[in-house]
């Protein structure tokens, strides 16, 4: 556990467990993530990387321990406040998770509509986000007509549209070719440079070495190295 001023930490985890019946997916995880940090969570398949990410936005319940995200204790959060917690995150999934029946524009706009932003603001913001990921010409296309790289760029635009404090990316380059993967990482780095905290799960060592940033290693649901490298 890192020491220091609490205000510097955006995420704090204290002795967190995640159990599925008799199986334990995460054991005694304690770690901190600072504001504007770029963190990789790595480890072999089944190590618990995705589960760890899900706990942060309460995609799954915490079995034991405490997680504090931007001052909110996730074990005490009411059901009604979960959407507000999730708006602090921009989530990028390996399988993109775009809504196939909505256009590129509508997919990105969804985040802002859910946050009850005015229509004119949504129009401008979505256009600007699509421009920043180079997808402004495809705003009326449906996700299934796009390549994997393009879909992931739309997913990044959607993740960033709500100006989240934290970006969670679960194997964002896992299903992309090398060139598309590089573009995606460049985009994410750009957002990190503008102040967002980034947490990426990956088992691509080359990507970690090339990008830099803190590495958290998980093995069989446990932290393999203490997360106090920085």
């Amino acid at each position: 556990m890192s020491n220091g001023n609490n205000e510097n930490y955006l995420i704090r985890m204290f002795h967190v467990y995640r159990r599925y019946g008799n199986n334990t997916a995460l054991f005694d995880i304690s770690l901190d993530v600072k504001k504007n940090e770029f963190v990789f969570i790595t480890g072999p398949s089944g190590a618990g990387k995705t589960t760890l990410l899900k706990l942060l936005y309460l995609g799954e319940p915490i079995s034991e321990g405490q997680i504090i995200v931007d001052g909110i204790n996730l074990t005490r959060i009411s059901k009604n406040n979960i959407p507000l917690l999730r708006r602090k995150f921009g989530i990028i999934f390996q399988e993109f998770k775009l809504i196939p029946t909505k256009t590129v524009f509508e997919n990105v706009a969804l985040v802002l509509e859910a946050a009850d932003k005015p229509a004119r603001f949504i129009q401008k913001k979505v256009a600007s986000m699509l421009r920043s990921v180079g997808m402004e010409d495809r705003q009326n296309a449906f996700p299934l007509s796009l390549s994997g790289g393009e879909q992931q760029r739309v997913a990044i635009a959607r993740a960033m549209a709500g100006d989240p404090k934290i970006i969670l990316a679960d194997e964002p380059t896992g299903s992309l070719d090398a060139e598309s993967a590089e573009q995606v990482i460049e985009l994410i780095r750009g957002f990190n440079a503008r102040g967002s905290t980034i947490i990426i799960t990956t088992h691509d060592k080359t990507l970690i070495n090339k990008t830099g940033g803190r590495m958290i290693y998980l093995k069989q649901g446990r932290l393999w190295h203490p997360p106090n490298q920085n």
């Binding site: 936005y57 995609g59 959407p83 989530i91 998770k97 775009l98 969804l110 985040v111 859910a114 709500g162």
Partner: protein, 293 residues
Amino acid sequence: MILRYFKYSFNDILKNKLLNTVAIITIVFSVLITSSIILFFINTTSILNLWKKDVKIMVYLSREASDGNINEIQKIISGINGIKDIIFISKEEALNILKQQMKRQFSLLENLKENPLPNGFEIHIIESFQSWQKTESIASQIEKIPHVEEVEYGQKWLARFSGIINIFKLSGYALGILFFIASVFIVANTVRLVLYTRCDEIEIMRLVGASDSFVKTPLYIECVLQGAVGGIIGLILLFFIFKSFISNVDQGIISELANINFFSLSELLLILICSMFIGWLGCFLSLKNFLKT
């Protein structure tokens, strides 16, 4: 936000045309059947009330009764407790009334050599005496008077008719409730199917920070709209069926019986609200468990 919800609802309706059509058709049938039952009862009840209001006893006299006998009978009847008024109808007057009532079949009466109708009295009973037992007691008193040949009154038939209507009413209510439950069940299943087809979409919406009301409200609007559209179509169909029924039944009979009316504006609105409630309830039941996790 509400405009946004309406936009989502309309988009969903367009995307799930078949499911929505099935739900609307069910509501149409439900509204059509229950409303026609209600309409039937409203009209039969009003006819019954109208008939009950004007209970009269017809007294037919024997041919041998002289003018003196007639005056005496009138005096005796007037003295019976519960009689409001008594009108003498001579056999000539009775024949004239019959001629007027028969209108087109008037020629049948032309060839009569002598008037077959008897002299008689039309007796009206005061309101507090208008029950089956009291009418029967008055009738039996009149029957005992000499020269009274026949006493006729509709109460007995009305009592039986009311009984039949009440049985119909009960089965009508049962049928109405059955259709209500069926409609709610079908709307609930329609919503459930929509939810299953949109499971991933709803999950994504929730992951990007959409609240439960953001997910639910468009579905509620969709179901209430289904209810409203189903209700309106059902009532329009019922109106045309009612019109064609009225035009196919002899106008003379209808005006003789009573005024047969369609629903009033407030009744129409009430039915519409009920059909919208069916939509809402169907949605509520299927959403109740869906977003719990």
